[in-house]
Amino acid sequence: MIQLDHVTKVFEAPGGERLTVLDAVDLLFPTGRAVAIQGPSGSGKSTLLALMAGLERTTEGRVVVDGQDLGALDERGRAAFRARRLGFVFQAFHLLQPFSALQNVAIAAEIAGVDRPLERAREVLRRVGLEGRLEHVPAQLSGGECQRVAIARAIVARPPILLADEPTGSLDPRNADGVFELLLELQRELGSTLVLVTHDPHLADRLQARVVLERGRIASTGGLA
C-alpha cells in the first residue's frame, strides 16, 4: 500500500521563485491495484511518481510505502528501497547504452540482490519475448524492444510496486498496445501495485483505478477505494 499524506512539493527556481508542483495531495494506492495517473502537462504527475520512488523528497507531508515513511530514510535507505521494492519504467527507456539487453537486466537484478541474476535476467527477457535479442545493445533494438527490456529490468526483482512514466509515449500504436498489455500481464502475475502515468484515456480506461491531477491538486479519483 502506498499512502500519500498531505504531500506538497515546491521547487525553487534559480531566481528564487517558488513553484508548487504538488499541493497537499492525499492519496492511498491499495496493494495490487493498477492505477492510472492523468492530467495535463505540468500538473505534477511525474513528480508524484518521483516522490513515490524516493527520487525526490517532499517539501511537506509524507510518502509511506507498506508502513515505511520514505522521508525517514537516508539516501542509502531510499536506494535500497528502490532496488528491492520498486520497478520503474520510463518513457525514454533509459537503458545503459553500452550494455546488452541481458546485461541491462542482469545489472538491475544484481543491484537488487537477486540470486543468480544472469539466469533470472534471461528468464524475464524470455518472458517479455526477447529471447532472440539477449546480446543486442540498445542501439541495435527497436523502440518497442527497448521498452520491453526496460520492463524486464523493472520486474526482474519481482518488486511489489511498479511505477511507469508514460511507458508507451515513445512507441507506435501497435507496439504501445503490446507493451501495455505486457505490463498489465506482469503486474497481475506479480500481484504488484502499478502506478502508471499516461495521457492516453483509452489506456487509462483499462486500468482498475484512476487519479486525475490538475495544477498539483487532485481533480478526481476513481476506483481507489
Binding site: R82, H94, G113, S142
Partner: protein, 899 residues
Amino acid sequence: MRAGTWSYAALMAAREAARQKGRLLMVVLCLAVGFAAFAATYGFSSRVLNAVQAESRGLLGADASVSVQGLMPQALQERIQSDPAIAGLAQVVDFPTLGATGEGATEKARLLEVRAVEGAYPLQGRVVLQGGSTLAAALARGVVVEGALAQAWGLAVAPEGAVEAELLARGQALRLGGRVVPVAGIVEQDDARQASAFALGPRIYLGLPLARDLGLVTARARLSSRLLLNLRPGTEGEALPRLKALARSVSINPEGRPRPSGEAKARIQSHEEAAANPEGRPRPSGEAKARIQSHEEAAAQLAQPLRNLNRFIRQLGLLTLLLALLGSWAILAAFLDGRRRDAAILRCLGAPPELAHRSFGLLTAGLLLAGGALGTLLGLLAARWMPRALAELIPAALRGAAPGAPPILESLLALALLALMVAPALARLGATAPLALLRDGAEPPVPRRVALLAWGGAAALAAFLVLRNAPTLGAGLGTLIVLAVLLGTLAGLLRLQLGFFRRSAARMPLGLRLAFGQLGARPGVSTLVMSVMGLALFLLLAAHFVKADLVAPILQAKAGDGRPNVFLLDVQPKQVAQVRALAKRITGHELREAPLVRARLRAVAGRPVEEAAEQPKGDNGKEPSRGTQFRTREQNLTWRAKLGPAERLTAGRYWAEDGQPHAEFSLEEGFAKEIGARLGDELRFDVQGQEVRGTVTSLRRVNWQSLAPNFFIVAHPSLLSGAPALTIAALEAPDAPMRQALQSALARETPNVIVVDLAEVGAKVGRVLDLVNLVAAALATLMLASALLVLSASLLSSRLGRQRDVALLRTLGAGEPLLLRSLAWEFSLLGGAAALTAGTLAWIGSWLYARKVLDLPSEPSPWLALQLLGLAALLTLVVGFLGSWRALRAEPLAVLRGE
C-alpha cells in the same frame, strides 16, 4: 555480491571497460605516449648520469688525477709520488697536433687529439686494442690510433720489422712532428674517451718518451698534463685533502717549476727572451695551480655536457608527459560526463549513491595505471635504444651502462595529477539528481570546493614535477612560466581565430560555416587539440630554425663568399713568414693575422677576480655563473692600432694613432657586461707573471659572423706589443682539396700549428644539433600523436551528436558533397590553424633567439613551416574523416528516431 560493495563496483568497472574498449584504449594510449616519452628520457638521463658515477674511475683512468696546464713539474711529481697513499702513478699529456698519412695524391692530414702516456696507463678502466695486443706493448712499437680514424684513413697495423719509409704509403704509419711513426695498434674500446661530438678530432696514443722525442711535448701553450693516481685502499678519505692542500701550496711558474705560494712572482719573459727560448713559444699566462680531482669530481666535470643534454631532453620528456596528461584528461572527462546518464539510471534502479563513484573511480584508476605502466615499459625499452642513437654525444664507456631506476615517484605523481584533474568529472557523476538528469535538466556545476581543491592540487603537482626535474629553481620557474605563456598564447590565439572566423562566417560558403559550427560546438576540445598539436609543431620548427641559424653561418663560409673558413692557431713568431707564404701558394689568399697573448684577469675596477682554479665547473654539483666563468678563464688578448673591419664602436672612443703609449683597453660590449666592467674601469691582467693595467676606454660590437680573428679584449699596442705572442690567422680556402693540401703541408713543415677547418666544425655542430633535433622530433611526434588521440576520442564521444547533425542536414536536403566539404574544412582548419599559429610563434621565437641571444642575423625559411602546416592539416583530415565515417554512413531517419 551486494551493490554497495567495492567488489561489485569493480565488477561494474570491468563490465564498463569491456564494453567501452575503443574509447578507453584511447585514454590508455594517450597516457602511454606521455609516460613513454618521460620514462625514455628519464631512463636515458639517469642511466647516463648513474653510469658516469659508476664508471668514474674508468672515465678518469684512475682513482684521482693531478692536472696542470703545460708540463708536469718534476718536483711536484716527486712530492706526490712520495705520498704514502699512492699505490700507482701514470703520466698523461694531452695536446692537439696535425697528423698525416699517405703520400702524394693519397696524402691526408687533419687535427688529432694526442694522448702521450707513460707508466701503467690506464690505471683504471680499459683501452682494448684490436687483435688483443696491450696498449703498453703497442706503444713500445709506435702509435695507437682510434678505430674511427683507422677506418676513415684506411690505417692498418704495421708488421714487425717493416721498412719505415714504405709504411706511410701503405697507410701503416702517421707523420707526426715531421717524422714517420708506425701504427702499432687500433683502439677497439676506450673507457676514458669522451663523446666524439665534443672532441677536437680523433685520438691517437703515443708513448711519452716518443712524444718528447718527436718534439711534440715541450713547454707549449696547449699542453695539459696529468698524473693519474691509484690510491691504496681505504686511504682516499684522508689522502685527497692532503694532496689538494699540497696542490694549493704549489704555484706553477711559466717554466713548470713549482714554488711555494707567496714567493715573488715569476719573472715575465721579455719579447727578446721569448724569442731566445728554443721553442720560440710563449708560456701559459700568469701563475696557475695544480689541480687534484678525485674520480667522482672528474666524473662530475665529464658529465657536464651530458648533464646539459639531459636537462634539455628531460624537460622535453616532462613536457610531453604533461601534454599527454592534458589530452588524457580531455578524453576521460568527456567519457565520464557521457556516463552521467548511466549513473543516473543506476541510481533510479536503486544503486547506492557511491556505486557510480566507486565503479568509475576504479575504472579511471585502472586506466591510469594501465596507461602509466604500458608507457613506462615502452619508455624504458626506448631508453635502452637511446644511447645507441645518441652515441656521438656519450662517452664510449657509458653506452653499455646498466639502465637507471624507473621514475617511480614522478610517475606516481603524474598519475596523482591526472586523478586530481579528473576528480571534478567524477564528482559531477553523483552531483545531479538522477531524475533531473534523465529529464535533460540543467547541468549542475561541480562543487566549488572540489573544483578548487582538484585544480589547485593539480597545478601544484605539475609545478612540483617541473621544478623537481629542473636543474635549478630559477630554470624550473622559467620553464613553468614559458610553458604557461606558450600554452596560454597558443590557446588564446586559437580561440581568437575561432571567434574571428565564426563572426565572419556569415560571408563564408555553407561548408565552411558548418565546419565552424562543429568547431565552435566543442570549443574546449578544439582549442586543446589545437594547442597540443601547436606545441608539438612549435617544438619541431623552433629546433629546426635554431639549428639552421647556428650551423648555416658556418656552412655558408664554405661557399667562397670572401669570409675565412680555415683558422690557424699557435703560429710561432718565427713561423709566420713561412706559413704566410705556404698559405698564399696553396690557396692564393692572404692570411688575416692577429697577435694573441694569453693572460689572466686579476681585477676589475679594483675588485679582485675570484680564484677559479680550485672550483672548476661541475664540482659539488654547482656550476659557476657565466660571469665568473668569463672572469676566471684564461683570456686571449690582442692589440690593434685601429678598429677591425668587423667591429663597430658602441661606447667611448677608440685610441688615437698618435704613436704615444696609452694604457687602454677596448672590450666587446657583451663580454664587458659579463665581467662587470664599464667605461673608465681599470682592468688588471697577469701576463706571464707581469702585471698589465689599463683603463676601459671603449666598447665594441663585433660581427662574429665575419669569422675574422676577433677578440673580446683589445689592448693598445703599447701595452702588449712587447709581450711574447702567438699569431692566430684566418684564411679563405674555398674547396676541400685545397684545405687538405694546406693541412698536409702544415703537418709536414710546421706540425705544431693547429688547423681548424670550419667545414668540419660546422659538420660536427650540425651532427650534434641533428641528434638533439632527433630527440626533439621524436618527442614532438609523440605530442602530435597525443593531439590526434584526443581528436579521435572527442570524435568518438561526440559521434551521436554528429550523427544527429548529419542526419538533420540530410533530412534538410544536404547532399554528400556538402557534408564532405564541411568535414574537410573542419578538420583542415583544426590542424591548419594549429600549425599556422605554432609556425608563426616558432618563427618569431627563433628570430628573436638568434638575434638577441646568438647575435646572428636570422632568416628562418618558411618552407618547413608550410610543409608542416600541410602535414598537420592532412593528419587531422585523415583522423577526422576516419572518426566521422560511421556518422556519415548512418541512416538519417533511424538516427532521428533514436533507433
